[in-house]
């Protein structure tokens, strides 16, 4: 069976909406089923990767603790929009895992090579 590639785009901030948590569930499940998964963080989605998050239970599960485990699921391609970081006065050093920060054009190239995209 040809395994199709999946890009999961995260464009919303954590906790205010459940998107981040449910997107991560989907990414991990897809990787578990042998799909090649690439993660993207754009717009307010970059806030999901911030270090030292301390959500209270009412804001949802502290799912950002799972990001360092992504590599154990063979999810190694994690791309962040450089422009989105800059607009929010953030740098890759503010993030909890190693990522590649790419300009929009290169990000679009990465998106274009994938079979399916799902956005949260």
């Amino acid at each position: 069976m040809i395994t199709k590639t999946l890009g999961v785009i995260n464009s919303t901030a954590p906790y205010g909406v459940s998107n981040g948590q449910e997107s991560l569930d989907l990414a991990l499940a897809s990787a578990n089923f042998g799909q090649e998964v690439t993660l993207f963080f754009i717009d307010d989605g970059v806030f999901q990767l911030l270090k030292s998050q301390q959500p209270i239970p009412e804001q949802g599960k502290h799912y950002s603790k799972t990001f360092p485990a992504l590599t154990f699921y063979d999810i190694d391609d994690i791309f962040v929009c450089q422009q989105s970081l800059t607009e929010r006065a953030l740098a890759v050093s503010d993030l909890c895992i190693q990522v590649s920060a790419l300009p929009r054009e290169e990000l679009n190239q990465q998106l274009a090579r994938l079979d399916h995209l799902m956005r949260f």
């Binding site: 069976m1 040809i2 395994t3 199709k4 999946l6 459940s18 998107n19 449910e22 569930d25 989907l26 499940a29 897809s30 578990n32 089923f33 042998g34 799909q35 079979d115 399916h116 995209l117 799902m118 956005r119 949260f120």
Partner: protein, 129 residues
């Protein structure tokens, strides 16, 4: 001709996404394309809630999905975790959790996220609504 999988992540009523997904399915089928399945995730699981009771002169998207599935043999898959979180449960869930009623019935079925992977494998395109 292409094969499509539909991923519905929004609830009916407040937002148009689910209705658009349904209309997309009708159009694709009319043009001879194949819909391999619909997967309901996030708030999209509310599409499966049979307790929806709108006014009689309003479009009933739940019923529309049921008829679409019956006419074209399209599986209606609902992520069990996302559904249970939102109170969309089937008879077995109701029994297991000691609840008085249940609102998820066939042709909607509870599945895991692995079924979305399976749907994406057999679809040329997965379209998210």
């Amino acid at each position: 001709m292409a094969t499509f999988g539909l991923l519905v992540t929004h609830a009916p009523f407040e937002q148009q996404h689910a209705f658009t997904a349904y209309r997309f399915a009708l159009s694709a089928l009319a043009l001879g394309h194949e819909i391999k399945g619909v997967f309901f995730y996030q708030a999209g699981v509310q599409n499966a809630n049979s307790y929806q009771a709108g006014h009689s002169d309003e479009f009933n998207v739940h019923q529309a999905w049921v008829e679409l599935s019956a006419q074209h043999g399209i599986p209606l898959n609902v992520c069990v975790t996302a559904a249970n979180r939102r109170g969309v449960i089937n008879a077995q869930d109701a029994k297991d959790n000691d609840r008085q009623g249940f609102n998820l019935t066939e042709p909607f079925i509870e599945v895991g996220l692995g079924d979305l992977v399976q749907l994406s494998q057999v679809s040329d395109r997965v379209i998210q609504f």
